[in-house]
């Protein structure tokens, strides 16, 4: 049995979608930035569907999950028409009508598509959401003031102008320029008015006062005060930690919290980010990807602040030679400890100075418990590519998390979990505005649907249970209500407030 477990290999399933980037010989910076993935059940059939934003001359695409790892391109009939180059997709039910909507972040604008029963309508203009021509590579839906509505944070990268784009050489060849050649940009925040419209509160909230080069955003109630804070991973400049004061304003406290920069003092090329509790102490921790020799920094939440755990966890050695984009905490082996999955690739071009060496395989790191991670097995079939977004989700409803990964100029792929361990699991679908869920001694914070790089997930929360056949589930709603139930394993449970 143990031997079978060790040899169980994940299988690769190509999808009918290819991520384009509009790369030219001059290597304009936006060509390295696509793209993320949204995983959500848009048609309510119980199977998780996939949306891929696209750039260059590619078409942003909605794939309907037909079961058995078969996906059908339904973009034409979906009503989703994305204009221009798009980078991120952030799904959430912003109008609380029970159907999952979709926000697409692009180079010049964002677009909001409302789900109107199996088809989508572009409601950007009527919503009042306007990013004012800024380049957004991500977003986060979260409840700013615990009023029950999902508000919107727009993650903006930097100021880019094709008219002033220079040609940068790497190893003697044109390649994407270092971010230092561009000016930083402010992020944006919109309050949900509860009637389908939004108000720009970037300035009033304090968010707009801070200019960075945002690549990842991880919302969570990090300090346990009942309000959702925002961690923003910035590219080669100090990260942001926006502490939610609870009155609609934020205080930037990245240095006070210990997450502005890794302990070595070198601001890394911070990319995608995720916040979950990896050590089962009830507090959401942080991780983000970066480039080679920068490691994938991991931060253990101590309540009032964070302690960098990259070296003691083993990730410093494991990730030193890696470059990454998408990253998620997810229990891939159902042992009750959240592992880490990463979509890897250099930020440079595969036809530039690093050539094919810019491509890397995806990796996962097995949570061994005790705060330690080791190399995960079974992803050998996933060949190197320019990977970007990654989401872990149970796409075939077999009780194990698969991984869907986007890569530049290559078909998106699903890494199907062999689900060979036989370990127990539970899916929790808690309805209403839920802040977090406890299953046994594991916690998942559900402050937002955003995860990793430019990606999002809306669906049941997955818990590996190891050998446990029965567990206690406790759901915490944002309005303070909580509910505890006991259930058997290997099933999906729906919990209403």
């Amino acid at each position: 049995m143990l031997l079978c477990l060790a040899l169980a290999a994940w299988t690769v399933h190509p999808l009918p979608f290819t991520l384009r980037n509009g790369e030219t010989s001059r290597k304009p910076l936006p060509a390295t930035m696509p793209g993320g993935i949204a995983v959500f059940d848009y048609d309510g059939d119980g199977l998780l569907d996939l949306f891929f934003p696209n750039a260059g001359n590619g078409i942003s695409t909605l794939l309907r999950n037909k079961g058995g790892m078969n996906f059908q391109d339904v973009t034409q009939s979906s009503g989703i028409r994305v204009t221009g180059s798009a980078f991120a997709a952030t799904a959430a039910d912003f109008d609380a009508d029970g159907r999952v909507d979709l926000l697409v972040s692009g180079q010049k604008q964002v677009q909001l598509f409302r789900n109107e029963i199996n088809s989508f309508k572009d409601v950007t203009a009527s919503s009042g959401i306007d990013n004012k021509g800024r380049w957004s590579v991500g977003a986060a839906w979260f409840d700013l003031e615990n009023d029950g509505d999902l508000d919107l944070f727009l993650l903006n990268y930097l100021k880019w102008d094709p008219a002033t784009e220079k040609v940068c050489l790497v190893n003697g060849k044109p390649d994407f320029c270092h971010p230092r050649y561009y000016q930083p940009e402010a992020n944006a925040l919109f309050r949900n008015n509860g009637n389908g419209t939004f108000t720009d509160i970037s300035s009033a909230s304090g968010i707009g006062a801070h200019r960075g080069k945002g690549m990842g955003v991880a919302p969570a109630d990090f300090d346990g005060d009942g309000f959702i804070d925002l961690f923003v991973a910035n590219d080669r400049v100090f990260n942001f930690f926006f502490r939610n004061r609870g009155d609609g304003t934020f205080a930037e406290e990245a240095f006070e919290r210990g997450v502005a920069v890794p302990q070595d003092g070198k601001p890394p090329s911070a990319m995608g980010a995720d916040a979950q509790d990896y050590n089962n102490d009830g507090l959401p921790d942080l991780i983000y990807t970066a480039l080679r020799d920068e490691t994938f920094p991991l931060y253990r939440n101590r309540g009032k602040d964070f302690e960098e755990a990259t070296a003691p966890s083993g990730l410093s050695v494991l990730t030193r030679l890696m470059a990454g984009w998408g990253i998620v905490f997810a229990d891939l082996d159902n042992d009750g400890w959240k592992d880490i999955a990463a979509a890897r690739s250099d930020a440079l071009s595969a036809t530039g100075g690093k050539s094919a060496a810019a491509k890397e395989p995806p990796s996962w790191f097995r949570n061994q418990g005790g705060g330690k991670f080791g190399r995960g097995d079974g992803w050998n079939a996933a060949t190197p590519a320019m990977h970007r977004g990654l989401v872990a989700a149970d796409l075939d409803n077999d009780g194990c998390l698969d991984a869907v990964i986007a890569a530049l100029n290559a078909p998106a792929r699903i890494l199907r979990n062999p689900c060979a361990s036989g370990a127990h699991w539970l899916k929790v679908h808690a309805r209403g505005p839920v802040s977090r869920i406890r299953v046994g001694d594991q916690w998942r914070q559900t402050a937002s649907t955003t995860l990793g790089y430019a990606s999002s997930y809306v669906g049941p929360q997955h818990f590996g249970l190891g050998s446990a056949t029965q567990v206690e589930v406790e759901v915490f709603w944002r309005d303070g209500r909580r509910k505890t139930v006991r259930t058997e394993s290997k099933r999906a449970v729906i919990i209403d407030p």
């Binding site: 190893n171 003697g172 230092r180 080669r236 400049v237 100090f238 240095f255 920069v261 302990q263 070595d264 003092g265 070198k266 601001p267 080679r292 020799d293 070296a311 410093s316 050695v317 030193r320 030679l321």
Partner: protein, 274 residues
């Protein structure tokens, strides 16, 4: 570098000047040769072979900047790979124009992949900060020490480590070698693995500032904050990112005022850099 083989007689040259020029080159009278070829060039303007000979005379006289356009004029007319590319690349190297040197040296390597050409190409890449290519060129020239350093500079630690391993016994007293090796080990295998090499490096060369920075970081990472402070303090003026670990070290040892002061300095200086 001797160029007799490159001295090409041109039919267009004045019969009496060509042998004079060749004789001047053979006898090391490069300034005289330059004058002769300049005279010939007046008689046959833009003759590529005369320009080559003039370029070689200028190169031999140490007038590298003047030699390069003359050699380039010849290569424009005769672009096939050959030794003139090596001379051109070497001239750029002499002028420390490393990035300009790589293209002619790449052509020279097509002509002759000798250790000399590979070494000069490695030097060009390294000076141009194309470290990974430099490492490969040095490996082709069978220069593992230079290759190890170039891989380390390229942050290709996995490639550097076996080279350092193989060279360790013969470089046990080389402070820079020990610093690079220790830094590589600290990154690949964790701070504790690099500390002995870094400490040995500083025993040999206490003023090797980058090694002090690396040792300071490593000591702090393994919890030896007090020991890290003098190293981080010494290295921080040359690397402002060390101010943050220094601040952490102060904090860990209860020196909170110094920690706050150094952190403020770090924020200011690193913000300005980025």
């Amino acid at each position: 570098m001797r160029f007799a083989v490159l001295l090409i007689a041109s039919a267009a040259m004045a019969q009496d000047l060509a042998p004079q020029g060749a004789a001047a080159m053979r006898e090391g009278r490069f300034e005289d040769a330059e004058g002769i070829y300049r005279k010939m060039l007046k008689q046959t303007p833009n003759n590529p072979k005369v320009r080559l000979n003039l370029g070689l005379a200028l190169y031999s006289a140490g007038k590298y900047a003047q030699a390069i356009p003359e050699l380039g004029a010849y290569l424009k007319a005769e672009p096939q790979p050959g030794p003139v590319y090596l001379v051109t690349g070497t001239a750029h190297l002499k002028l420390r124009r490393f990035c300009d040197a790589s293209a002619p040296l790449e052509k020279a390597r097509v002509w002759q992949a000798s250790p000399q050409v590979s070494t000069e190409l490695g030097d060009a890449y390294q000076g141009c900060k194309r470290y990974e290519e430099a490492a490969k060129a040095y490996l082709a020239a069978n220069q593992p020490r230079a290759a190890a350093r170039a891989f380390w500079q390229a942050r290709a630690y996995a490639e550097a480590k076996p080279l350092y391993d193989s060279l360790a016994s013969s470089n046990a007293a080389d402070a820079e070698f020990l610093y690079e090796f220790g830094d590589t080990l600290a990154r690949l295998d964790g701070a504790a693995a690099g500390i002995p090499h870094l400490e040995r490096s500083l025993q040999i060369a206490p003023a090797l500032i980058p090694a002090r920075g690396a040792l300071g970081r490593a000591l702090l990472e393994v919890g030896r904050a007090a020991e890290s402070i003098p190293h981080l303090s010494a290295a921080a003026p040359a690397d402002v990112t060390l101010l943050l670990p220094l601040s952490r070290a102060y904090k860990a040892t209860g020196r909170l005022e110094e920690a706050a002061r150094v952190e403020a300095e770090y924020k200011k200086k690193v913000s300005a850099q980025n």
